[in-house]
Symmetry: C2
Subunit: 339 residues, 2 copies
DNA sequence: CTGAAAGCGCTTACAG
DNA sequence: CTGAAAGCGCTTACAG
């Protein structure tokens, strides 16, 4: 039905082998033949059938799979930008598919589809595979890698140093004079990122001899969400004895929740109200008023590094490498010196 | 290298034909054989080779292509959510690829890849193909469709009624008592959405006998951007004779720019300052302070309808159908009655 | 420089 | 219920 190289071959009076060579610019052929083939292909409206080409010539390590998820705000877009850029430079294809974040059935379905499509690596963008999925991939000789996230599993990852993010953020607040610093948004018990950031947070406090009260920990939904920030403010205001004077919000969204919570309470942010620093460095930071200070992750570089690593890993699918990408501290208006 | 149905066939002592039938649940086979084949498949770690399956059995109308682009803020995520949901219900696959928004070379490259992958339709999510691309698709018997966007091209589209968006937004402002209403963010000359919204805007004004001054039109970068809103405020404040009292911002981002511009000028939004209504109904609206009134598009429904239409169009690739999805008006805090 | 032939892994009438 | 065989469209040694 659709036009094939056979049609082109017939049109120009060459074999399909020659047509194939010419179309792919491989092997030897005369310029004259090439010209006629190209013309015929254009004329007939020929397009390669990828399935056939892939089947005939199983390109090893040609396409990389990316599993993303849809969220309200998604820092993953920046990671994807990096992935696509690096992939283009390295001439590898990228197949992006969506899964539901913590739904293993959904993840399993997508992973299966990835395997069927012969990807040589799959990058999990903030979606957490379970061990079974990871094992399945390795068995299929596919390199699994977490990106912008890390878990307890035996799997490679490219992300920021979450302990340091927690440490540096808290340290900044301490240096600005705050002492009663809350930790809001992530769940130190349930997720490894939260655990590391919390560890950094407590270590920084310890260096200043402050012992966090348990009321300083506000988890909310544990999803690094805007809503957790909002809820935290209400909670703090209802328990004035908690008397926190600053918060380390585990995401910019959460930080925005804090600032908005203050606003909604009728005492909008001001130096002296409640300092706050978030994490990510998303566009939210400069679009909020006041603008949010943030531990800014290099998402683009994380994405780029992820594909570089995947390509590099080759078929060493069992290799486990945890790479940490540098972040920066962007101070804006929500971390003034304590007055 | 990887395990094939041949391996399974050998393992259980059946032909590949039988294995294929069993694995696909097609045709007749004994329960006993099925059991053994399933077991062997699991045991050996078998995964179908999609390329081979697709080649052997070219599933007509099985996968739909979606061309997306990466932007700072992206309402497309909601559209994609709708697309994926509808596609799952209809049992069609979705292949999502990214192009650079107004870069025809990039779009052409992606479209070519889509054709090679035998999609039966391609949905352009706010990316604008040119006529050549559209023609190419049709020639390849692929149904082209714009989604959440519309152009002058002869191509089907699923989007909101932009004239009405412009009309109703402006009308709301008029009903609230505003008369000197600016139009900010889109370029009525250069893009069809902007044109329709602007037409709606002027029609609404006309109904109230107001003639828009040309200073009321502030285009900025013409990209419906946050920055255009910010710049508009500066512009208006530098030309006090313009004296606009409200703005119809052609996106929520632009509306946020207006509100933030006011803040940055030291006279934060308040009833009496400058009313503003945006378009989209994105999460920005409820996360901004004040919360933004917005012409809320049904992006999920737009996405769903797009796949329904594509499936429905079948191979009528030349069919042109422009579908308009209802929107709603969400009034929040930025459109108080004029005082 | 070009062609005949085999093969990629799977599917599907067609026989039996 | 099962198998032999052909075929999907392309690629690639291998000859010539």
């Amino acid at each position: 039905m659709s036009v094939t190289i056979k049609d082109i071959a017939a049109a120009v009076g060459l074999s399909t082998a020659s047509v194939s060579r010419i179309l792919n610019g491989r092997g030897r052929y005369s310029a004259a033949s090439a010209k006629r083939v190209q013309a015929a292909a254009a004329e007939l409206g020929y397009f390669k059938n990828r399935s056939a080409a892939d089947l005939a010539s199983p390109q090893q390590r040609r396409t990389i799979g990316v599993i993303n998820y849809l969220a309200a705000t998604n820092a993953n877009d920046q990671v994807i930008q990096g992935i696509l850029a690096e992939a283009r430079e390295r001439d590898v294809e990228v197949t992006i598919m969506y899964a539901q974040r913590d739904n293993q059935a959904s993840i399993t379905r997508v992973v299966k589809s990835m395997i069927e499509r012969q990807v040589f690596a799959v990058l999990f963008l903030s979606v957490r595979p379970d061990q079974t999925v990871v094992d399945t991939l390795r068995q299929a000789r596919i390199y699994p890698q977490e990106v912008a996230s890390a878990s307890d599993l035996n799997i490679s990852s490219v992300s920021s140093d979450d302990f340091q993010i927690g440490y540096q953020a808290t340290d900044l607040l301490l240096r600005r004079g705050y002492r009663r610093i809350a930790f809001v948004g992530a769940d130190p018990q349930k997720d490894i990122i939260g655990r590391y950031r919390y560890a950094g947070y407590t270590a920084a406090l310890q260096a200043y001899d402050v012992t966090p009260a348990k009321e300083w920990l506000f988890i909310g939904d544990g999803q690094y969400s805007y809503h957790s920030g909002l809820a935290a403010v209400t909670d703090f205001s209802e328990h004035p004895q908690t008397a926190v004077d600053a918060v380390f919000a585990t995401s910019d969204d959460t930080a925005l929740g804090i600032v908005n919570g203050l606003y909604d309470l009728g005492r909008p942010f001001s130096p002296g109200s409640l300092a706050v620093i978030g994490v990510d460095g998303s566009s939210t930071c400069t679009r909020a008023r006041p603008q949010l200070s943030s531990m800014t992750q290099s998402f683009d570089l994380i994405g780029r590094t992820a594909v570089a690593e995947a390509v590099h890993a080759g078929d060493q699918v069992d290799q486990i490498k945890r790479i940490e990408i540098p972040f920066t501290i962007e101070e804006r208006q929500t971390t003034p010196t304590k007055k």
